[in-house]
Subunit: 98 residues, 5 copies
C-alpha cells in the first residue's frame, strides 16, 4: 500500500456503468517524512475518508478486493484512514495533531 | 486511476483478433495542476471519449473489467470523462471552461 | 498499452518449458514525439511483427490474454503493429513513410 | 520481490473490514549496496518481522498468496526476513552483524 | 519481461511456508547496451541460472505461471537464460564471449 493525502475530488458524470455510486478522490503520494510528493492517483473511497486526511490506498487487482470495488474497473482504493505513522522511533504523523 | 488528456489516436490494421473494434487513444498523463506530463499510455475507450477531453483511465487487470475489454489483451481503459477536478479547495479543471 | 519500436531480438535456449516456440523481441519505449526512450521491455510477439516496426504492447496479466501467451510466464506481448499515430492534430508517425 | 528495511509502523483504526488484525509496516526500499532509498511501501507482515529488520516483500496480486492476505485489499506483503545478501561475491548484508 | 544480470543471492531462513525450497537471486536490471542499471529485483529461479548470467525475468502475476512458483507469494521469476541479444543489427550480448 501507499500513504497518501486526500487533496481533492473528481466529478465525472459520463462513466462506465460499474463506476456508478463510487466517490473519486485525488490522493497525493507522501514521502517518508509525510510531505507531499509530485505524484498522485485517483482512488475510490471504501472507508468514508474526507479531504485532507492521510490514508492508505491499495493498487492493482488488490484494489478490487473490497465490497465496494469488487468486479469494477478500479485500480486504486482507499482502504484505511491513518491515525499515526511512526518512522525511526519518532512520530512522523499524528492525525489528532494534523 | 490516473488523470489524462486524450491527445491523439492510434490506428493499427494488423492486431490481435481480440482487439478488433476497439478504439485506441493516446492519453497524456496530467499533473496535480492539470498540465501535461512527459508520460502517456495508449488506452481503449469504453465511454465515448473524444480528443482533447480530460479522462480517467484504469490500468492492469482492472482495465479488463468493462464490457468492452473483458478477456482482451488490454492493460489501459478510459472509464470516465471528467467534468471537474478540485484540488486544495480550488477548481483545478472544469470541462465547461476548458 | 505502450508504444514501442522493435529494435532487436533475444535468443534463449534454456528457458521455462512454457516459453518454447515464442519469439522474444527487444522493444524500446517511445515518447509522445515517437522518439526512442531510455527504457525497454522484452516482449513476446503475437502478430508477426518485425524489427524496426512501431508496435503496441500490453503488460502484466493482460499480456496473457492472447492465444500465444495464455497461461505462460509472460508479462509483455506485442498485440498490434501500428500504421499511424496522430498527436495534437498532426501525424506523429506513419508506417508508410517510416 | 524487493529488499526493504522495516523503518516504522502505521496505525489505522478506521479501515476496510478485511484489514482487521493485520500489522502494517513502513518498509523503505534498499539499494544494491543495502542503503535506504527514497521510496517506501506500507506492507502487511506475514512472518513476524520487527522494526529495523531487512526483509523481502512481494507486491501486487502476489501479495495475496499468503494465508494472512488471501482475498484482502492488500498489495504488499513481507514474506521473508533476510539473513544475508551477497552481491558480486561480497557480503552486502549480514543480519548477525547489522 | 526484463533483462537482468544475476549479481548475487539472498538467504532467508524465516519466511512464508510457500517460499520453502525456492532459490532467491539478486538480479540487476540492464540497459539496452547491456550495462547494469541502478535498479534490481529479488527473483526466484525456475531454470537453473547461476551468478553472473544474463537472464530474463517476468514480474507480477505472470511470475506465478511456472511450476515452481504457482500459487506462491512471488512477484518475479527468472524464466530464461539469455544466449544472445541483438540490438539495431549488432550483437549487444553473447553469452559465449561474456
Amino acid at each position: 500500500m501507499k500513504l497518501g493525502r486526500v487533496v481533492g475530488t473528481v466529478v465525472a458524470s459520463r462513466k462506465d456503468e460499474k463506476l456508478e455510486g463510487l466517490r473519486l478522490y485525488m490522493v497525493q503520494d507522501l514521502s517518508l517524512g509525510i510531505t507531499g510528493r509530485d505524484s498522485f492517483v485517483v482512488a475510490v473511497d471504501s472507508v468514508g475518508a474526507g479531504v485532507n486526511e492521510v490514508v492508505l490506498y491499495a493498487s492493482g487487482s488488490s484494489a478490487r478486493q473490497t465490497r465496494e470495488t469488487d468486479g469494477r474497473p478500479v485500480d486504486a482504493v482507499i482502504m484505511a484512514i491513518v491515525d499515526t505513522v511512526e518512522v525511526n522511533g519518532a512520530v512522523a504523523y499524528d492525525k489528532s495533531g494534523d
